[in-house]
């Protein structure tokens, strides 16, 4: 009764409450204040991934809206086996890749598995990517194929383990390692093409 008279506000929910507890409370009470907490925590990050992959702000905003609807409708299916962030990022990457695939804008998504496992790929130091100027990182990410971009974002932006990436992309761990190596290689090649003088 008290809840009806004094509806719960987002500010009443402790900021230290874990995602899993927020979800449990949301599913038990259907109080939208709990969903608002999840929205505040993750909407910016989801939008960031969408804009990196879809390149246009309006498309990224629409995608963020649709992804949150998916999250909301499937929240009861979240089993807690993985981190909540991993689960929602998985929805985000799959959604964006699907949008690009449907628009057939990126041929790399159609020939993704043709590359052989046995090609030798030189390893590139992480610092090469991590210490780049943000303005340049943006330019290179705009140029490389969406699939390579998503592998780099999962590894360097979301700090996902190889195992987590393998679960999201439904590829073996060795395939994921190879994909990351290839993505780094394409990144370096693109960088050299654009910034020739350095």
């Amino acid at each position: 009764m008290i809840n009806l008279l004094y509806p719960l506000l987002t500010r009443d929910i402790p900021t230290t409450m874990s995602d899993e507890d927020v979800i449990k409370e949301y599913l038990a009470t259907q109080n939208s204040a709990y969903f608002d907490v999840l929205y505040k925590r993750y909407s910016g990050k989801i939008f960031g991934k969408c804009i990196s992959l879809l390149k246009e702000e309006a498309k990224a905003a629409d995608a963020t809206q649709e992804i949150f609807m998916k999250i909301l409708l499937n929240l009861s299916k979240f089993s807690g086996k993985s981190k909540f962030s991993t689960w929602i990022y998985s929805i985000t990457y799959n959604f964006c890749i699907d949008v690009i695939r449907r628009a057939k804008k990126d041929p790399s998504l159609l020939v993704d598995d043709i590359e052989t496992k046995h090609d030798v790929v030189d390893d590139i130091e992480d610092t090469y990517l991590l210490e780049l100027k943000v303005s340049r990182l943006k330019v290179i990410l705009e140029e490389i194929p969406a699939m390579d971009k998503s592998f780099l974002l999962m590894k360097y932006q979301d700090d996902m383990s190889i195992r987590e990436i393998s679960e999201i992309t439904k590829k073996s761990e060795s395939a994921v390692k190879m994909k990351i190596k290839r993505a780094k290689q394409k990144f370096k090649k693109t960088y050299k093409e654009i910034y020739k003088e350095e």
Partner: protein, 74 residues
């Protein structure tokens, strides 16, 4: 160590701030529509099912004679 990917993420998040409330309003609008449809179905579905049951020759629970509880000895 610096992480330019994290810096880019922060930049994109700041970019979203002006759009955030607009997206949230759209989500709230969509959830309200879902909730409304759910409530309507909840309210009328049992009645519609009752009509179907009655039409197919079954007995509608609503037409059942109510048990007379007036005699405490029963």
């Amino acid at each position: 160590m610096r992480n330019s990917f994290k810096e880019l993420e922060k930049e994109n998040m700041e970019r979203f701030e002006k759009e955030s409330q607009n997206v949230k309003d759209k989500i709230d609008g969509e959830t309200s529509s879902f909730k409304f449809i759910g409530d309507v179905l909840d309210l009328y579905f049992s009645k519609v099912m009752g009509v179907f049951v009655a039409m197919s020759g079954g007995k509608d629970d609503d037409n059942k004679p109510k048990k007379d509880n007036s005699n405490p000895a029963d």
